[in-house]
Symmetry: C2
Subunit: 311 residues, 2 copies
């Protein structure tokens, strides 16, 4: 028998979904608070939110595998923490939501949705012609499973697609790849720059003054990824001076975004509250179910996190 601990604010929902999968040889415990549990040491497998798992890490002495319910596993990557277990994260499930966020806000900008809504509120018929995504150029910082989903949607809408990655060039919907020091060539002539980079030592402030200066003035930066990737002071400068046309930001170095943050006072910024892609148990449970079958069969798990690289 394998002992599974579900550690999530949606523990009951996860328990139902996993019970429905009728996995063999699995005994399930589920809670949103590990302090409630006795005999914590018996759990071999944990399915949970990284921050909750972290708080129980020293007590989960029998733990061999953690399946994160999130894509981001930063709470578990602190070098001071144990790394004597397999960590898998949630991948391949956020692409569709991310696509809706990114392309919804890009179309909103092209079609001047907020201006047209204001015209309507004023009772004004506004025939100003809208723009279109077709023929425009999008640059993707990061082309993992989310970036690949964005590239496919960009292709669907007739956009040209540039991709910036560490080295991989596996996505057929990307027209041109860039790596390493090619950031200026990557940024050249982009209409939209979208960051879906993970939070790692290597991506910190990748979007800095030099990258922003290489974008055309008409460009819009969209960040549904991780706030740590952006030098927020440099971004605010570029926006406030008009060297960059706009930004749509879902993530920030500090969340919730502090009340005195300059972004609240920058008219060309659209702010959303880290809701671009939510972790939905219906999406994540199948990732666990698939990996559990691999675990019991002695096969390698999918979506293993490299503790050093950070994703």
């Amino acid at each position: 028998m394998h002992e599974l601990l579900i550690l999530s604010r949606r523990a009951d929902q996860y328990r139902r979904l996993i019970e429905d999968a009728r996995l063999p040889q699995l005994h399930i415990s589920a809670t949103s608070d590990s302090d409630d549990l006795s005999a914590v040491a018996r759990f071999e497998i944990v399915l949970g939110e990284p921050s909750l798992v972290r708080s129980a890490l020293t007590r989960l002495t029998g733990m061999k595998w953690v399946q994160s319910t999130w894509a981001g596993v930063e709470p578990l990557l602190d070098p001071s923490l144990r790394r004597d277990y397999i960590l898998t994260n949630a991948r391949g499930v956020f692409g569709p939501q991310m696509s809706e966020y990114v392309f919804g806000y890009m179309i909103a900008r092209e079609r001047r949705m907020f201006e047209k809504y204001a015209a309507q509120q004023a009772g004004r018929w506004d025939p100003a012609p809208p723009g279109t995504l077709r023929g425009k150029q999008i640059g993707l910082l990061g082309v993992g499973s989310i970036g690949a989903a964005l590239a496919a949607t960009a292709r669907h809408f007739g956009m040209r697609v540039k991709g910036y990655t560490r080295g991989s060039e596996g996505c057929a919907d990307v027209d041109a790849y860039f790596h390493g020091d090619d950031r200026v060539a990557f940024a050249n002539n982009l209409d939209y720059l979208v960051s879906v980079m993970p939070n790692t030592a290597g991506t910190r402030h990748l979007v800095d003054a030099s990258l922003l200066a290489a974008l055309p003035q008409r460009a819009v930066f969209i960040n549904p990824g991780r706030g740590s990737v952006v030098d927020e002071r440099a971004l605010a400068d570029a926006l406030q001076s008009g060297r960059l046309a706009g930004a749509v930001l879902d993530v920030f170095e500090q969340e919730p975004l502090p009340a005195d943050h300059v972004f609240w006072r920058t008219p060309s910024v659209l702010i959303t509250a880290h809701t671009a892609a939510l972790s939905v148990p219906e999406d994540i449970a199948p990732v666990f179910v698939d990996n559990y079958r691999r675990w019991t069969a002695g096969e390698p798990l999918r979506y293993q996190v490299d503790f050093v690289v950070g994703y």
Copy 2:
């Protein structure tokens, strides 16, 4: 030599695009006002806006073919007008713009974009979870070239697609087809109803009280097609009573929408000013060029309008 008259407010732009195509045996005249022209009778071919062509119709005695720059050719369909020429309209070019309009506004609704923008204006961090298109059901009234483009985008975003047509069932992205008296079954359980029907005698007030009553309360009606398809009084009643969740309207029985129209005072209506898909010379000129090659080769033209059916 074939004599072409370009009759459009963008006559100069059309002339440049068609000159660039270097079509054989073609002499081009271009104007935005046919009153400027002498010897109007010499023109065999007219490329133009239907309303401008209509005003010159009796003088264009040598005219054998009109290529409309618009999809809608209502000004030329009046039974009192001559029908002794071939009329072709613009098709196959509005799908991408229509997709951006329809899916942009659907995502805006799912993600509460206007509410979240208002929260931002108030300096409020708003973590309310957004909805998603994935798994939702869209119903397309009309599955011509525009409907097929919408069906493909709906499929891309993981939606289920119902189509209502006169009889055709040619689009592979439609999951279920409905015809004739099946309007109630068609409307059943839709999240979004989208009309891309042309303006014909057969489509007048197709969206009436009975169709609207068959929609679930959560449904949203989107009309980027033709205003004549909608019984506006019935739509306003359904919206104001809350039996229908919302509407996104780009076209109306009278345009511009009169200042005293009830839609201006209906909060669940989003109004745009017949800008969902614009006729762009770069899109339309290739349609003419292709048809001109067919014309000179004695082949049937594409996109011929049936004066009786109306499209």
